[in-house]
Symmetry: D2
Subunit: 510 residues, 4 copies
């Protein structure tokens, strides 16, 4: 919950779709893109953009971008404009830098010597500063501060610079991957192909789905190859349900996958430095992803539940009931309740209409703080000792009014159990975390965190507990089988816990 | 859940506020009104309006109305315009008639021989048609189809018609109440007073809150009389938490309460025909109200939980897990789980960004239906027998795709348990229910409802079960003590179950 | 020019259209109404509204209203909504009272015992205050401060109040006309008929046009009766050109004309008190109307030219060139030039994009005043003595920066000649004129008006000169011949000059 | 008039402002920029943009861009955001390519190795295609199709590429000017300086103004150096009046002028190939510029008047009156009238509210065509032989309905006299002229143009007549004296008449 209130967030969601078979097909690509994007809306609400291509030679690209939610940014007219596409990519953006302008909206479309490419990405290049200098030293002016423009210019300037009938975009993408190790999940559209790319550390998620006739969506026999109506690629698999796609597989760390009307083909896997493990962001499990998404063969909801169980094992509580700060902490709370044997009881009711209020701050009502968003279900907890599960604590100033609300409404005790470890370090790979100084875990008050936030006790999940809760259910088998290339190397397991431990997957250059 | 999908809804929410003490006070009435309205947003999302009064003689009224959510309809500029008010009333509207226009927005402000009055109401006059004719026969033209305009004109035309220094609005309100028995909860603002009125049957809710300093909001000693910063009146008490108000009491059926800077005063209680019981809408408990609201001394959440328990007693199931169609059915599901001893497990994840989609209907994706809104938490139920609790079934066409989704994702059995009885009759008192023919309970298919919707079994709560779940927790004591008049008659208990039984509280005239 | 800058303006424009022949016809009534309204836009830019009727029994009315220019207020969607109308009326509004809200937009649609009527009017009831009291004493609440609502309620409340198959609206309109002598040009739509009404003094204009096939629009033979595609009624005939209509005739003072699919029929002429002359607003000629409109058989442009000639006769000037403050004074300037023999030379160029600037006032640039709107055509007048014609001077503070601009750019002398007399009195009949105190002609500075505004000399047209310039070209013959009733009384000539002379057409009651 | 209707237009207007003296100063640069832009609105209504710089090291740039008119694109909030600038440049755009998107809005801001620059330009690079290839071959991706982005990338990539404290932007601009001969008037802002540049052929206009206290604006003594409040640079001098600036001088063909808080300094004049004359666009005189603008020492209005006189000499007419198609042809019409001795009489009245109508085309009303925009002042010309002056004829399909309108309203004869020669060739230097095939002068119908458009006769001004009318009043003396450099070469006279003669100032490469 604190994450939501702290303005912390994932940088973006990316989504792409290619209609299968001979074009034009029946598949309404623009609709699939829009609905796919809506399903990734939790990854970014600042702006949204779609670019479709007719796949012809030379291709015609159609773009529409807008500020705000997909439902605000896209009108029926915009969809009409986009509908003549046989493939397309799209993007929903969370502003990490505070510069919230239309020109930073993705996807970026750029005209190069070899034709137009469109790029959408999720992540943050750890060496962006050095790369910007490099590009500018080559004489390129950069019109935005976004990594996406930087990526497109890097793709454009790779030599040799001569007009070709079939430019080798894969070589250029590989070259880009040698220039920057992490963090990016990338979609590059050129003419009639989408290249789906994950950085060698696999820091950001990316997976592939198969569009089949709705009637065959859940058929036990499974859809046949010839049933395929198209392919989608997405930051999260939760989007597949909304559009009638079956989960196919993840893009592997370092992998470049080509998606075209002819199918899905793994082109290459760029390797990490010897000895380095993958570094998939562990906070995708803890907070960012939608609970019905699947990463590394396991459902996010199940991982959160395991975190709750592990928390109950590590930090049992002498209490009457277990509850949740709705809605993100609920799986962990149910896990804690199950493990501890305490009953799961709801204590708070969320008002989903209280959003960003436009009311000015200098008022009596401000004192109510985040408690404005919640109604206390008094009868459920009056006189009781409550274990309240939250998914994370960042600054420590949003859980506090909730504890106060519960206590004043009659809770006998309020024990906070946090289903993740304390956040102590900034993220340089795409997550907007406050500066080290603002993190409660780095403040003197952390010594008496319970007193500071007004709880009777506060306990966090350990890093080891989190890692084991995440890793115990990983199952990769499907992915390997579906790689239609020879690079079927054994898949390693590893997660980025930098914000918890300070151990970054790569050395940071500035 | 079905209610939400069926476009069924409560007609409106009303809210008012008066600053206590000598004016101008510190209390920012326009802010309180706005936040109070946001907390009633679930009762109507079509339009919103606020009217404030400076309370002077003659008063200056300031009004702002707009289409859509409060956050859309009200800008900071609008709030600035309204801020010079010492009191005000507001309204959020659910369109029952399909005529969605700004001119139907409430509150209505009308200039009469005795000065301007502002009126906001929730409900539907059962004899509106006859009253319109009566008013028009008197020579009045009506510019809208709304009951609110009708009410204001009825208040205006009561004789005797001569200019007075102190017009007797209470007499006019009483006269109105003799003209129309139900259904209305009404706020009438005149100069420096708000009259809060419930119809004699108490069909729609209305309650009063006391604004105290935030610091004393939950103090065990309680706020003293002299601490009062103002008074609020609201369709539901859930709004009090958002603005820092304490629950004070309900307005009684038939009661006229005067709220002014000097306090709250019960002026009169208009009685029902002898032998008639009150008829508070039982669906406020079942579906409309927010779970943290209090009616008749009990929390709505608790009533829903009891409905779930009663349902488990009436219709036990041989199954593995109990779950909910999020979010409205959750209290009932938890009640059912507790009573039945089966574990409560979440099976569906809701995408809160999938709203009214602007995508045109003739597409492949339409077949997905309401399932687009949900992600299946497959690992939680694959291979299991699921009891799925829903709060109501109206047309029967929205639960069906969810059952299909669960089954195809691996549920062994899906048993539907509905925490309310079948709806068989239309409502003429403010709830937008489809015609009798459209209600699944009146169709031949209802004989095999389980087969029709694809469930393994379907059971409803009985009417008796619902009524007893509602009535067993009623506690009126507070209200009676706080009536500062002599009308402290014993309060009767009674609920309108017309949509379930066809027994309307009053005879319907057409 | 001063008029424009002074925020003075006409209250409104009204327009109506009925398709001829059997319905549905080919004529797109909603388009005709929209274009007609655009052509009356100079009479009001605050809001616009259209109501169409399908003419059935009972009729379905469709309304759309919006703030701002017609092009802002009406989208293609709005037109689509309105297009199923066979007839309709519309209105464009100039805010006289400063209360600029959507609810004051016309036309008003009101449901009465006899069905729905729609009303649009131009003018201001001189006895509005007394009539409001009367209506409210009858028990009617008024929801706006507009005369239009008052008119509809007056039409609604006329007894006898019983439901009738054919209510006598004409009797009700006549009754209204006995209650209020002036000022109104009124369109009342009921089912399949528009009643077009001018008050007995004919204070506001109203005329009728005939829609014919575009190909026959200017045919010398003229369109035949059977060619008629529809009828339009408008505040000004300038709108006819935009929609392909031929000028048919004026509605006479006091006349009620019925316009239906069957044609145009004069129903009645309500007479003035004996001895009273008509009082058509003389400022329609001076400033308000578009120059290509026709009143009383003569073109407005021609009248303005005559005013210029008369001014040259009354106030000749020893100068080199004659010029205009563009654009409204140009006909008078050309008239002055012709009469005086001096050359007509342009000295100012208008920037038509400088509108209401949103730039805050406390700046260096404010000193430029209205001169911001004009570019000086220096080469045309440097070293010359300029006669500058303006159509009127109201407060005297807008001509002043123009004179300064010309002088500083090199004009040797600037002589102001005003093509109308000084305004000394307020208007109570629909024109928004400042209070008496604000009028320059009532201030001490008027003694040395030339010095005050920085001119070398200032002369006004005399009242007698204006009246003779207006009346010498009047020609009524057409109208009389086309009255298909017996009331072919000789038409009298008379104009309201109240703002110049203080002689109001009727005694003012308060 | 035809130009306006034909969708032909100038590509853009540019404007810049620098506050003089020590910063921060009193001058509100953002206001000056906005008003300056409004005064150039006739040069482009598609989009508008402003970029301000605080002039610090490194500078902070603030940008705002929007679609539509300045008044639409800029809100008070946008101005507030921009107000901390000590200097700034802005741009109003006319869409030549039909791709109307926010990302094509100027000014462009680009981050380079040497810091951020902002660029606004008017014109079209004749060798844009080759330059795009060149830039892309260097490995740069281009995100728009606009020349402005191309110019910024060309400025950025000039070697040597190493970080410098004082990058030599002037050298880079000179380098750019050797790469592309025409057509551009360019503003480049870097930190605290604006470079104002005209291409060596001077194809597009650019001039400088001096901001002085309003009180000294027209003082005969003239403002002193020390009075200077700031400097402005503008496509046209007509903007100076709106902001209280004095005309200072033109930027010369090929000149680079540096404008800073310290004043105006000519840095360099890049020369044309030997023997080439300047090629200032002659249509700036004929149609594009506002009549009160000054080019080459003469007022545009005066040139148009001379064109009218010349036309009367070349093509006298046996007629009764001379008139204009308002408003652009009026100076020529007055010139014709004066030369011919025929009276100048207005025959058409323009409805300024009829803009781009949103009404769909397939209707009866379409037949009215452009005549919808005009009212006929019938009494002024009935029975008369009219000489109607227009400024240009492009496709020949818009003058035709006007002639029809006049004839049907009673004109005895209508003789068209066009104050410019027939347009026969496309423009590749920034003016959006239809393809050769669409130009009426290249069609067979041109043989009988009078018959084709329904006129009694049609005559055009000759190319020689136009050139002499333009060149006879040129006076350069001021400019030369104010060049504070040594490059005071004699200024040559020459104009681009390519669209009339096919003689382009430079050879066109493709």
């Amino acid at each position: 919950m604190e994450f939501e209130e702290s303005g912390i967030g994932e940088e973006c969601g990316v989504f792409g779709c290619v209609a299968a078979g001979e074009w034009p097909t029946q598949l309404e690509v623009a609709q699939v893109l829009t609905l796919g994007l809506v399903a990734l809306q939790h990854r970014g609400q600042e702006s949204a953009g779609i670019v479709t291509s007719n796949g012809a030679s030379p291709p015609t690209y159609t773009a529409h971008k807008g500020m705000g939610l997909v439902s605000t940014a896209f009108s029926p007219e915009a969809l009409t404009k986009l509908r003549y596409g046989n493939l397309g990519i799209c993007h929903t953006r969370y502003s990490t830098t505070g510069i919230s302008e239309l020109q930073n909206c993705q996807p970026f479309v750029v005209d190069t010597l070899h034709g137009k490419i469109a790029v959408a990405h999720n992540g943050e290049l750890v060496n962006a500063h050095a790369l910007r200098k490099k590009v500018m030293r080559h004489g390129v002016g950069l019109s935005t501060s976004s990594d996406s423009e930087l990526i497109t210019q890097l793709l454009a300037l790779t030599p040799p610079m001569e007009e070709l009938d079939s430019p080798d975009w894969v070589a250029r993408i590989k070259n880009l991957m040698t220039e920057t190790p992490t963090s990016y999940s990338l979609l590059v559209m050129f003419k009639d192909v989408i290249y789906a790319v994950r950085d060698p550390y696999g820091n950001r998620p990316l997976c592939i789905g198969q569009l089949v006739p709705i009637s065959k969506l859940h058929s036990p026999a499974g859809a046949q190859e010839e049933d395929t109506e198209g392919w989608v690629v997405s930051s999260e698999s939760c989007s597949f349900q909304s559009i009638g796609a079956k989960y196919y597989r993840e893009v592997l760390p370092g992998e470049i996958v080509q998606i075209s009307r002819h199918g899905v083909k793994s082109l290459s896997v760029v390797s990490r430095p010897e000895g380095d493990l993958p570094a998939f962001c562990i906070f995708e499990y803890v907070y960012f992803a939608r609970p019905d998404s699947i990463f590394e063969g396991q459902m996010v909801y199940t991982v959160r539940q395991r975190c709750g169980r592990q928390l109950a094992i590590e930090s049992p509580t002498n209490a009457d009931i277990v509850s949740t700060v709705p809605e993100s902490a609920t799986p962990a709370a149910l896990g804690y309740a199950e493990q501890s044997g305490l009953p799961y009881i709801e204590v708070l009711c969320k008002n989903r209409y209280v959003g960003r209020t436009f009311i000015q701050p200098n008022t009596r009502l401000r004192q109510l703080g985040v408690a404005k968003k919640f109604g206390a279900l008094t009868d459920n907890f009056a006189g009781k000792r409550v274990v309240l599960i939250d998914d994370s604590i960042v600054r420590g100033n949003t859980i506090s009014p909730i504890i106060k609300l519960l206590k004043e409404a009659g809770a006998k005790e309020v024990h906070i159990r946090v289903a993740s470890p304390p956040i102590r370090f900034p993220c340089y790979m795409g997550i907007n975390i406050p500066t080290k100084e603002e993190l409660i875990a780095n403040k003197p008050e952390f010594q008496d965190i319970a007193g500071y936030i007004g709880a009777d006790s506060v306990k966090y999940l350990t890093v080891e507990g989190l890692v084991s809760a995440v890793q115990e259910g990983i199952a990769f088998h499907n992915e390997k089988d579906k790689m239609n290339s020879n690079n079927k190397s054994d898949r390693k397991v590893g997660h980025c816990t930098a914000c918890l431990t300070g151990k970054y997957p790569v050395e940071l250059e500035w």
